[in-house]
């Protein structure tokens, strides 16, 4: 770890620091959450979340340098302490984190090399994409679908209508989970005696990450793609160490460790315009010899259509392989099979969206709605809500106690 830290610090120092930072943008946001219920007396009825984000972008000839940092304060015990955690490998998120720190320059006119910390976006189908789903998310806020950037080297190029992209991610950035047993990550109480608490053990994720290759080909109205990857799967497997459980006056305390499996995956992507609709499809085969994970064959199909300034999107995604364990604990495929229906619309005053995700296995689901009103070019107020419903055995129904409304005020610059 010391060597890793030293490498990252060296990389930071290698980046030229500009005398004049002209391309600075960012925002400050104050967000408040109000909950409809609590799962325990530890859960607050309301939560405040303040964020400051600053991004600096600079072009030096053909090279592009980008750095961004996020600082935040949360009125909750679930936040982590201020820590040097450049690869987001700790259990809880640090109040300050580096979101971007990358340099991109052309090796040839048609080939770029990008290195540093940046975010990836793969796949074609919105709502759920097998190509994109394995990338690490921060579930501290279980409804935000926030991706965590990666330290990686990316080589990307284009030859005619063929695009290619290869990624080497030398260090694992794992999924970040909410506090186990909290309303954001409740564990099935029937399996554990009443009063059971969980002690999450700070398990060191493997240093090695993954390598991946993606090819994209555009032929008229067809967009075709194929990808493959191998390496460490960023979503952890949880080991409940009952053998090390400690009985206390209020109940059992069970240590929970995390394991990271190796996984190989291949997938295809296809997209085509058919009349007024855009059809997108993906299929992925995931292979792992790790117990408690197994293989998966995941497919997704989506249709999208615009209606003036509104867009309707419907996505169906599922896994044909039964994992044999509670799929909720697999995170990247926890919600499968699911039908996702989203309606978003741009208005003169801002935009609004409504997303309904229906879990097809347990009959649970999630309704998300949000409306953003632009007060000015720089000030924006957002009102929304997240309403999980249904069986507590399902990934959404389990979050019933996390039903909430939120209100945010953002000032951008």
């Amino acid at each position: 770890m010391t060597r890793l830290r030293a490498s990252l610090v060296a990389l930071c120092l290698l980046c030229p620091i500009p005398a004049l930072a002209q391309g600075i943008s960012g925002y400050a946001e104050a967000k408040g959450f109000a909950y409809f219920e609590r799962s325990s007396s530890r859960d607050p009825w309301a939560l405040g979340w303040g964020t400051i984000f600053a991004k600096w972008e600079e072009k030096v000839n053909e090279a592009q340098l980008t750095a961004s940092v996020r600082g935040e304060g949360i009125t909750s015990d679930e936040r982590g302490p201020l820590a040097f955690d450049p690869a987001d490998r700790k259990l809880r998120r640090s109040p300050i984190s580096v979101q971007d720190l990358w340099l991109r320059f052309p090796l040839t006119p048609s080939l770029d090399l990008q290195l540093g910390r940046f975010q990836l976006g793969w796949g074609k189908t919105d709502g759920y994409s097998p190509a994109d789903a394995f990338l690490p998310r921060d579930l501290s806020d279980p409804f935000s679908d926030e991706k965590i950037p990666l330290w990686a080297v990316r080589l990307s190029g284009q030859n005619g209508t063929l695009r290619y992209e290869s990624i080497v991610c030398p260090v694992t950035t794992p999924w970040r989970l909410p506090v186990l047993g909290s309303r954001n990550a409740p564990l099935n109480v029937e399996r554990f005696p009443a009063g059971t608490t969980f002690k999450e053990v700070e398990t060191q994720p493997p240093n090695m990450g993954f390598v991946a290759l993606r090819l994209l080909y555009t032929l008229g109205e067809w967009d075709l793609g194929a990808w493959g990857r191998a390496g460490v799967r960023p979503a952890p497997l949880l080991d409940f160490r009952f053998d090390r459980a400690i009985a206390g006056p209020s109940g059992l305390t069970i240590p929970v460790e995390r394991r990271y499996a190796r996984e190989e995956g291949v997938g295809i992507e296809v997209s085509r315009i058919v009349g007024a609709w855009i059809l997108r499809g993906e299929a992925a085969g995931l292979l792992s010899r790790e117990r408690g994970l197994g293989n998966a064959f995941i497919g997704s199909l989506s249709v999208e259509r615009g209606f003036g300034d509104g867009t309707l999107l419907i996505t169906l995604a599922g896994n044909t392989k039964d994992p044999g364990i509670d799929q909720t604990l697999l995170f990247d495929r926890a919600t499968l099979p699911a039908l996702i229906t989203a309606w978003s619309r741009t208005e003169e005053w801002g935009e609004w969206k409504l997303v309904w995700t229906a879990g097809l296995k347990r009959g649970d689901g999630l309704i998300k709605m949000e409306a953003g009103y632009n007060l000015t070019d720089l000030w924006k107020v957002t009102l929304g809500g997240e309403l999980p419903y249904g069986s507590p055995d399902g990934p959404f129904g389990a979050l019933n106690a996390a039903r909430r409304m939120h209100l945010a005020l953002r000032r951008s610059w």
Binding site: W122, T346, E348, D377
Partner: protein, 286 residues
């Protein structure tokens, strides 16, 4: 001259047809036929004149490349003002145009990219939008081209270069626009030109320099124009005429978007990969 020849051929052909079919033609009928032919050929001539004017306009104003920084002001019907900024790059012209637009302001849309690749004389251009939040491009379906382009009064079709080859055109007459005599030309989308949001477009082409000054845009089934594009502050820069101000008025919504063109440059060599999907996906790139 070509039309005169065509008209003579048509008259001769009809005479031959009537002779071969032993038709007896009396004088009034001949006169009526002649009048009909004159009217038909006049229509042909008008259409051809409009085409000739548009071709000449294209020849005069065609540049290999164009780039500018656009300052956008969007004013809604209540008078609320929003500002945006983009950088626009174009290679080719009209039917062979490639366009890349990258938003630089406000922060909310900074980095959003738009790529449009025209198909000469053929179907709708291929269009993609890159959203930094998603880190990937989204294709724009032809049917979605009536959607607002990133909160402006332009829609995706408005962002295309006008290619007269995709329209049936007819000269309607002349009109003074902003003190300038203009040719008035009706352009009706052709089936082979792909789907259009509009039923027709009426172009006002300045007579002296054959430069577009105004375009009235009629939505399907509308008798009145739904939108109006006004080009003004026309200047000659490096020997090329260009409107430094474009204003799109949405007459139905009562809103308007004004684009002021700054840092205009013509025929500046563009990087070979600027108009590619790879470049569209390059965060921070233009």
């Amino acid at each position: 001259m070509i039309f005169e020849t065509g008209r003579r051929h048509l008259l001769v052909a009809m005479e031959v047809y009537m002779h071969e079919n032993k038709l007896t033609v009396r004088v009034p009928l001949r006169l009526a036929l002649a009048a009909l032919l004159v009217a038909m050929s006049a229509c042909l001539a008008w259409g051809a004149d409009a085409r000739t004017l548009l071709k000449e306009s294209e020849n005069r104003h065609r540049t290999r490349t164009q780039q500018y920084a656009g300052e956008l002001t969007v004013v809604n019907k209540e008078g609320k003002v929003r500002k945006k900024g983009w950088k626009s790059f174009r290679e080719g012209y009209a039917g062979d145009a490639k366009n890349l637009i990258r938003f630089i302001d406000p922060p909310e849309v900074k980095g959003v990219g738009f790529l449009s690749l025209a198909h000469p004389g053929g179907q709708n251009p291929d269009q993609w939008l890159y959203l930094p939040s998603m880190k990937r491009e989204r294709r724009i379906a032809a049917q979605d081209r009536d959607a607002s382009f990133v909160g402006t009064d332009f829609n995706y079709e408005d962002m295309e270069e006008f290619d007269h080859e995709k329209y049936k055109v007819a000269l309607q007459g002349e009109q003074i626009v902003e003190g300038q005599p203009c040719h008035v030309i009706t352009a009706t989308p052709l089936e082979k030109g792909g789907k259009s949001v509009y039923e027709k477009k009426i172009l006002y082409l300045r007579k002296d320099i054959l430069y577009l000054m105004r375009m009235d845009l009629y939505l399907k089934r509308d008798k009145q124009p739904g939108k109006q594009l006004i080009l003004s502050d026309i200047q000659s820069i490096n020997g090329h005429w260009v409107a430094r101000k474009m204003e799109m008025n949405d007459l139905k919504k009562g809103s308007r978007t004004t684009v002021l063109l700054r840092e205009i440059a013509f025929d500046k060599p563009q990087p070979a990969n600027r108009f590619t999907l790879r470049n569209l996906n390059r965060e921070g790139g233009d």
